[in-house]
């Protein structure tokens, strides 16, 4: 019998060995697939975008007949997108940090309110931006408002708040109980623990901000109804504003191949902005989370 036993053991060992190899190969294949996908997108944008990219693109607003091959650039869309991203990120942070703080510090772990709130944010997370746009549009009509930068900022804020809250909440839920207890033991009120909590969840705030900025800058449907589109740079919150994704959309819709190439340049600029914001975000996070325990 010992011989048979050994034999079986060997087979099992061999099977485990093969299993390990196959799993490893599968993992490598999926990683390569994702990477190839990203490279392909970047390659396409660069191949078509780089030739059309020039200084005018980023320094001028569209001249007459720009969408039919006329001169000018997309400065209106770059500035409009930056305004909307900046405005909505600041508003979003101001609204979501208190919510996350309330959910995790004031409410008890198994609170029903927290459960319902989290469920609601999950649902909001999944609602497409066009629905937010349509919703905001209805309210704007009701209030007699026109498409405007302010409207765009508001709808994008609504869109990114669930992202902010859920991604910060994921980190805040792992806030060590001991850390809160240690702070309370020093005589801190719940509100005073916010200094400790914010430092501890700083990486979560940064990740949430990066995710939100990505979504905010890339959203076309939400701003279509609310911010509108214009060839000029908005000078107040009540003026309409252009955005990069819509600019890409309008240029791609053109039958003119040159204008289509400009759409790729605009996409390139969009990716570059996201890249810069991501790098900045990581640097800021590293600075703020250096004391994290």
């Amino acid at each position: 019998m010992p011989c048979l036993y050994n034999n079986r053991k060997n087979i099992i060992m061999k099977f485990k060995f093969i299993e390990e190899k196959v799993a490893k190969v599968l993992m490598i294949v999926s990683s390569i697939a994702v990477f190839a996908f990203v490279l392909n997108i970047i390659y396409t944008i660069f191949r078509r975008g780089i030739p059309a990219l020039n200084w005018d693109m980023i320094s001028k607003i569209p001249a007459g007949g720009y969408y039919n091959g006329g001169g000018g650039g997309i400065l209106n869309a770059i500035v409009g997108s930056l305004y909307i991203v900046l405005g909505s990120t600041i508003l979003g942070l101001l609204i979501s940090i208190p919510v996350v703080f309330y959910l995790n510090v004031y409410l008890k772990k198994d609170s029903k309110l927290a459960y319902v709130a989290r469920l609601a944010f999950d649902i909001l997370f999944g609602i497409p931006s066009i629905v937010y746009g349509a919703f905001a549009f209805t309210i704007m009509i009701f209030l007699g408002m026109h498409t405007s930068l302010g409207g765009g900022i508001l709808v994008i804020t609504l869109l990114i708040i669930p992202i902010f809250i859920r991604s910060m909440d994921e980190v805040a839920q792992h806030l060590p109980k001991d850390l809160l207890d240690a702070t309370y033991a020093l005589g801190a009120t719940k509100l005073e623990t916010i200094k400790v909590v914010l430092r501890q969840i700083a990486p979560g705030i940064a990740t949430a901000t990066l995710l939100s900025v990505g979504r905010a800058i890339g959203d076309a449907a939400g701003v279509m109804f609310t911010a509108g589109f214009t060839d000029s740079i908005p000078t107040s919150l009540s003026q309409p504003a252009a955005t990069l994704p819509l600019s890409v959309f309008f240029q791609l819709s053109s039958p003119n191949a040159d204008v289509q190439d400009r759409a790729y340049s605009a996409a390139l600029i969009l990716i570059f902005i996201v890249l810069v914001i991501s790098i900045l975000g990581r640097l800021i996070t590293n600075y703020f989370s250096k004391h994290k325990i």
């Binding site: 001991d178 430092r199 989370s289």
Partner: protein, 292 residues
């Protein structure tokens, strides 16, 4: 029965340690509190009476009556799950955050009932420095860890804060080790240093009590010894309440011992009495190691 009495390496002799017992019986003041355990407790700031704690219908603490002597080390011993930590967390009302907690009875600190609606909870907590099982430095620099509490209680002057940081770090013997890197992150310290930092952080808000919940169980032997020595030194100024799993630790440093079992205080008294001459059968069995 074997003698359980170990000598405390940090002190000269038991006779010296317990000299206060004799003194207090001779010079007993009129207003001394009669505890029913003789006149050992000379003065008590913390008095628990009829304390019952339920958490979600589980009776955690049952009719606890207790007095903690002032400026002494009180060790709360007992097997796991007997309510030691719950009792400790009740002292500074950290238990409030537990879902479904209900309490009856009273805990008097300086003659103020901590459960009284008028009592400011932050004031109670400020009086009780907490040292948890695992060191838990705040996510800040070493300096800010200590200054945080003082700033919170309104101290803004830079010079005063510097003095406090230096004084408290010296009090826990950490000053020499960290004085050149006060702005470094507290998480960079070794675990033993972190625990001493936490102690210094607690001392910085000028508490009257130090509550230590198995404060040395996560530390290496040398760091634990450091902390134990600190407790012995600090008891001159603070009342120290120590929950411990290690009987030997209680033997080494306790002045007063409380033995708990299944949420009840079985026996409380001076260390000498509990360890050498326990009155209750259960205490004797626990000390003998029949259960733990």
């Amino acid at each position: 029965m074997k003698s359980f009495l170990y000598r405390n390496p940090t002190r000269a002799s038991w006779a010296e340690d317990y000299s206060f017992l004799n003194k207090s019986s001779k010079e007993k003041p009129d207003d001394d509190i009669d505890t029913g355990e003789g006149d050992r407790i000379k003065k008590s700031y913390l008095k628990v009476s009829g304390l019952n704690i339920h958490i979600n219908k589980t009776h955690i603490l049952k009719n606890v009556d207790l007095e903690i002597p002032d400026k002494k080390i009180t060790c709360i011993i007992g097997p796991s799950g007997c309510g030691k930590s719950t009792l400790l967390k009740t002292f500074n009302r950290l238990i409030d955050d537990t879902e479904g907690v209900k309490y009856q009875g009273s805990i008097l600190v300086d003659d103020t009932d901590i459960f009284d609606k008028q009592t400011e909870i932050t004031e109670i907590r400020k009086k009780m420095g907490l040292l948890s099982q695992r060191p838990c430095p705040l996510p800040m620099s070493i300096y800010d860890n200590i200054a945080f509490g003082c700033k919170m209680h309104g101290e803004r002057k830079k010079k005063k804060l510097n003095d406090i940081v230096e004084k408290q770090l010296k009090a826990v013997g950490l000053w020499e080790e960290v004085k050149t890197r006060l702005n470094a992150s507290a998480s960079k310290l070794s675990i033993g240093q972190q625990q001493r930092l936490c102690l210094a952080r607690g001392l910085a808000v000028e508490p009257e009590f130090i509550l230590a919940d198995e404060a040395t169980s996560a530390l290496d032997p040398i760091s634990s010894k450091h902390i134990e020595e600190l407790f012995v030194k600090l008891k001159q100024d603070y009342t120290i309440i120590l929950v411990t799993h290690t009987l030997r630790q209680a033997l080494r440093i306790a002045d007063h011992v409380v033995f708990m079992y299944l949420g009840e205080v079985i026996e409380a008294g001076s260390a000498d009495e509990i360890f050498n001459n326990p009155k209750q059968e259960l205490t004797r069995k626990y000390l003998e190691g029949a259960f733990s």
